[in-house]
Symmetry: C2
Subunit: 225 residues, 2 copies
DNA sequence: GCCCGCTGGATTTTATACAATTTCAACACC
DNA sequence: GGTGTTGAAATTGTATAAAATCCAGCGGGC
């Protein structure tokens, strides 16, 4: 997964650190510091920041520097609302065309997911969740929507990571629902799978909103590692 | 609308030229040429290209240069499908909250639109259409979806511009539908406005698909000025 | 005849150096 | 005491130049 260009690899690393929380929401990203940290010049760093801004993870204020995109309940709600609109539609298109190989990969991802769950490796959870969702929509032949959903999943992971630091039960529920969705798709019950997917996203949204609501100081909790 | 940074203004200019068709789909965008053309260095050009890639107007192949994103019927269909999914939802949220000032601006845009129609100034059409649509969704409080729809509208303009070079009747129909949508919103008939908007987008999609289908060689017609 | 590796040229990518802009704190002034 | 201004420091934005990469064409080998 290594990028052929330094800017690309720096961008991947910064993205990972933002999703990790190592670069907290709202924090300044100084080009010079990042450049020396990665042992490169500032220009690849600049390009990486531009790319990340396009993904919505970074905000660039002209002549005032780059900051990690802030977290807000409204933004999380909108991201999940868009996911709820787009993902079931993609699944309904993709599910009938999923191949045996796709299901094999889905099973592997579910296994990794369960292993990460046992090990308490919440760090791996986000990527696995994204991979599984995108895999299920891969046969929809909607590349633009797929890329968009990928970006939305990445951003939702930022919020979910906050939530997971206090509540692990959601992960097991997500695991059960993922397995059931895959099972329904495999057996050809497309509409049932889509309905469950809708419930899945709605529930994630509701749980996340409840979490964000009770921890009223979002900016404070955004600093969690 | 002038950007504070050279990269921003260069990006705006390149975007305009891509939408104009002055940079045809698939054509190479050489950094050196653009830099000398704009009287700047290559670095602002690079940053502008990165930003445009994020908008989907440019594709960057590492170490192989940047090309204008190709036009394909499948891509147009997906863009319009997404618009058909997102825009009615946005309108239903925004329409009840539109202010008198919003309607005044909408009327002004409709006037400009009609003037451009009389003058045969198809060049201005795209921006006016985008402005009107975005204005109608402005009160939805969905910034992410709004930005996404703006990007989709820009891309749809690339296709519509091809179509308009041979068929002007669609513009008048669009004008009538726009006026009716605004009238319905103003009178509080939100669901009717949303239904009409859905039809509006569906019809644009159908007309565009028919046009793209009959001019089988899309790559050829993509070279139209 | 066909495939493979190599070299020349062009283009992108990155590094270094410089200029423009913003920010913040000290300070005079109202 | 509050407010506007002004300077320097820090940071970003841009230009110039060097390094890495890729592609096309060509010659040699099988």
């Amino acid at each position: 997964m290594k990028n052929r260009t330094i800017a690309g690899s720096i961008g991947s690393e910064i993205r990972r650190r933002i999703l990790d929380g190592r670069y907290p929401a709202g924090s300044q990203l100084r080009q010079d510091g990042l450049a020396t940290e990665f042992g490169a010049s500032r220009i690849p760093v600049r390009e990486a920041l531009f790319q990340l801004e396009a993904e919505g993870l970074v905000r660039i204020h002209p002549h005032r520097g780059a900051t990690v995109a802030p977290l807000s309940p409204a933004d999380a709600a909108e991201a999940l609302e868009l996911r709820g609109t787009l993902e079931p539609r993609l699944l309904s298109l993709s599910a009938p065309r999923l191949t045996a190989e796709d299901f094999a990969r889905a099973d592997a991802l579910l296994e990794d997911y369960a292993a990460a769950l046992r090990d308490g490796a919440t760090a791996r959870w986000g990527a696995l969740n994204t991979d599984l969702h995108l895999l299920l929509y891969g046969q929809a032949e909607r590349p633009r929507a797929l890329a968009l959903v990928g970006s939305l999943l990445a951003e939702c992971d930022r919020y979910t990571r906050l939530q997971l630091s206090t509540d692990n039960a959601e992960l097991e529920r997500a695991d059960r629902e993922h397995r059931e969705i895959v099972r329904l798709c495999r057996n050809g019950h497309v509409s049932a799978a889509c309905a469950l997917l809708t419930d899945h996203i709605d529930h994630v949204a509701a749980a996340l909103m409840a979490f964000l609501g009770e921890t009223s100081g979002l900016t404070k909790s955004a600093g969690i590692v």
